[in-house]
Amino acid sequence: MSAVATSDADLVERLIAGATGTTPRAERGRAWLAANGLPTERDEAWRYTPVRDITAALATAVAAGTEATGVTRDLVDELAGDLGGPRLVLINGALAPELSDLTDRGAGLAGLWVGGGDELRARGSGGPYTGTAEPADGFQALNWVAGVDAAVVLIEAGNAIDAPIHVVHLATPGQMVALSHPRTVIKVGAGGRAQVVESFVGIDATADGRAITNSSTRIVVDDDAELTYQRVLNEPDTTLHIGRVGVVQRTRSQLHATAVATGGAVVRTAVHVNLTGERARADLGGLYLPTGHQRHDNVITVDHSASYCESNQNFTGIVGDHGRGSFSGHVIVRPGTVGTDANQSNPNLVLASTAQADTRPWLEIFADDVKCAHGATVGRLDEEAAFYLRSRGIPAAQARAMLVAAFASTALDRLSPDTLRERVASVVEVRTADTTANLETPS
């Protein structure tokens, strides 16, 4: 870790000045920040995140308010969609019960508890955070210290919940550079099964206002449990989002996780999956699509700390205009484990000569009984395929749009229910239509 710059220390001091959290976790976050501060671009894991832009914006940031003023159900429906199941809505990190649809949604929700962290703590269960883990980085520490509430999804052991559980984080910066720290905790008990969708959206900022979202999602998938987790990041193009998803998987658990980033000025998605139980399986995938001047950074780590586990990473990047998309995949296989199977794949499509794609598919392996492979490619649209389509009478622009859609489909097909997939697919279509229209027609 790099030493804390004085200016950074002052910044951190200011950012946590108003935080009153006294939980052990908040204390650990405080201690960690005091010792290490915020990351810099010199930290390997932050190499492709424009940390300087973020800290510059933080310099004038204020804590976002938590009132749901002016936010209606219709607005939430419009921004994040209604998937038909229970829906938790949080405004700038605080639960908005009047906008949420909790356990009254449909039948078959026995064994599910959905609500706010404060609410859970009030019920005497000790709160959603347990364990003694240290923060992974300065931003997560900041989230622990300054976060106000949490969205909590608990599935009791042995229960299968069919309806998609939707957690919507809405940022409303108003006139300010507003910093919020949304948190989500998802726990699937032994043998349980569930599907959770986490949407990050925001209200278009006014001229001066923009949101900085510093999110932290914690997921525990217990023995034999199965979780489908989908993360949709479609915030306004002014938003800066630093996100971290920490997952612990126990014996024979299964995780199917998908992250799709389309919005934001800067979106960092750091996913850390720790396979702690034997025969756990993690299937991670996603799509990131920076156009305009967007920066999308994905830092995906799978830690094989138990034997016979399997992991897949399959992230697709499409970069257009002046956008920059990055993928840092990291597979760690711990000493003493056997029977590991790990794969990484990161195809990138570059749509403009001014766009940039970075990929770092890393393997760090300390055991010999492994099968690990990774592949990464960076290239532009296949001219031959475009020519073939054009020779069949399809106009150039449409042919290109079809090829881009096909490239994105590997990731989009992971999404469910259909309403979510269609929703995201249409966003992708609109975003890439802008960039493919700019492509020169081949001579």
Binding site: V350, Q356, T359, L363, I365, D368, A373, G375, T377, V378
Partner: protein, 478 residues
């Protein structure tokens, strides 16, 4: 099987002997005085002294890099000798016959008898014991076509204008910690100049040899290939057994001007330390080439030695249509640590690069591939293909792959693929049921694994490399 492993573990370093050549030292430690003393001993011109001093002053402001995936006790740069040269017994030798018989015997033990090579193999050897070149062969033959192949100090004396024009243009003295150190205290090395349009009539070769106790070796190699010329250069190393760790921080600069081609092959077999990780060479090397238009630079390396290898032969593809290649086999056993790979920087249009890296880890060794492919906005039509595979032998070793791919151009096509696995049980079983012993089968599979790289080596090196590989991994399979 286990006895074979034991045998491997107990195997003595075959080249671990120490010949008694009287050594002349400069006092331990690093200071401006030492830099001046080295320069004075070598009777260098003022500009080179200034160059060294600038590098030294910058070095003093730098800190040792920590990003490498290697772990070692801190190196005390003040506790080593920066100069050791075989003491001349009378005037400099005029032919091989005049070379110190002790030195000759050393080479004989290594199996690279100069005389033998001069007569039979047609390879010109610029042999280096510690820091001063002691013999150069085939000079006359090379001179006929205008090729200059000599020790670095000789080049400074005889061709100062060539050295001055090119020294530090690819690896600037401030490039990194170890390059700055080398620039300040480099003792000697090889210089090679191929005039325009000349295809070097023979393969050039240098044998490096660390000999004096506790003497860091700071070689500097500069190869300049003028327009349209071609050269193939071989570098190989063995070092005697030692208890203290020895530092080796070399710099190699390649300059391939338009239409030129440089092929640089290395077989590195420094002393790797014993089974407990005691001793062994710390090898921190900066190697880089710059390719002009339609030029080609090809690095091939077989790394079996050193306790620590930290080495990233790179190519700056500056000219349009230039080509960069990197073929590497890195073998680490016992407690060896290798962090090696390449950098391909695409600047010119239609530049292309190929990376093939094969890492083999056995025992408790850690083997890391670290590579970067960078395609700049100007590199329209750039191509790269990277293939890096790792083979793990034994459950306590590690194989790591850290590639960086950064593309700023939509017309680039960059592919990276990698795999990590142990030797397939199926392949072993198949070979064994054909009557091969496990050891032969393993050797065969490993050689097959490395074939792509060995094929790039010049003939005589390919043979040596295969033997070395077999020796390094003998029986390490279970």
């Amino acid at each position: 099987m286990s006895e074979v492993i034991d045998e491997l573990v107990e195997r003595e370093y075959a080249f671990g002997f120490h010949s008694d050549i009287e050594t002349e030292y400069v006092p331990k430690g690093l200071s401006e005085e030492v830099v001046r003393l080295i320069s004075a001993k070598k009777e260098e011109p003022e500009w080179l002294l200034e160059w060294r001093l600038a590098a030294f002053r910058h070095f003093m402001t730098m800190t040792e890099p920590t990003w490498g995936n290697v772990h070692h006790a801190p190196i005390d740069y003040q506790d080593m000798y920066y100069w050791a040269a075989p003491k001349p017994k009378g005037p400099a030798p005029k032919s091989l016959d005049e070379v110190d018989p002790e030195i000759r015997a050393t080479f004989d033990k290594l199996g690279i008898s100069l005389a033998e090579q001069e007569r039979l193999s047609g390879v010109a050897v610029d042999a280096i014991i510690d820091s001063v070149s002691v013999a150069t062969t085939f000079k006359a033959k090379l001179a006929e076509v205008g090729v200059i192949f000599c020790s670095f100090s000789e080049a400074v004396r005889e061709h100062p204008e060539l050295v001055r024009a090119h020294l530090g243009t690819v690896v600037p003295p401030r490039d990194n910690f170890f390059a700055a150190l080398n620039s300040a205290v480099f003792s000697d090395g090889s210089f090679c100049y191929i005039p325009a349009g000349v295809a070097c009539p023979m393969e050039l070769s240098t044998y490096f040899r660390i000999n004096a106790k506790e003497s860091g070796q700071f070689e500097r190699t500069l190869i300049v290939a003028e327009e349209g010329s071609t050269v193939s250069y071989l570098e190989g190393c063995t070092a005697p057994m030692r208890d203290e760790n020895q530092l080796h921080a070399a710099v190699v600069e390649l300059i391939a001007k338009d239409d030129a081609s440089i092929k640089y092959s290395t077989v590195q077999n420094w002393y790797p330390g014993d089974a407990e990780g005691k001793g062994g060479i710390y090898n921190f090397v900066t190697k880089r080439g710059r390719a002009g238009a339609r030029a080609k630079i090809s690095w091939t390396q077989v790394e079996t030695g050193s306790a620590i290898t930290w080495k990233y032969p790179s190519v700056i593809l500056q000219g349009d249509d230039s080509v960069g290649e990197f073929y590497s086999v890195a073998v680490s056993t016992n407690l060896q640590q290798a962090d090696t790979g390449t950098k391909m920087i695409h600047i010119g249009r239609n530049t292309s690069s190929t990376i093939v890296s094969k890492g083999i880890s056995a025992g408790r060794a850690q083997n890391t591939y670290r590579g970067q492919v960078k395609v700049l906005r100007s590199a329209v039509g750039a191509r790269n293909h990277t293939r890096c595979d790792s083979l793990l032998i034994g459950s306590e070793c590690g194989a790591h792959t850290f590639p960086y791919v950064e593309v700023k151009n939509d017309s680039a096509a960059v592919e990276h693929e990698a795999s990590t696995s142990k030797i397939s049980e199926d392949q072993l079983f198949y070979c064994r049921q054909r009557g091969l012993t496990e050891e032969d089968a393993t050797s065969m599979i490993v050689n097959g694994f490395c074939r792509e790289v060995f094929d790039e080596l010049p003939m005589e090196y390919a043979v040596e490399a295969q033997a070395l590989m077999r020796l390094s991994l003998e029986g390490a399979v279970g």
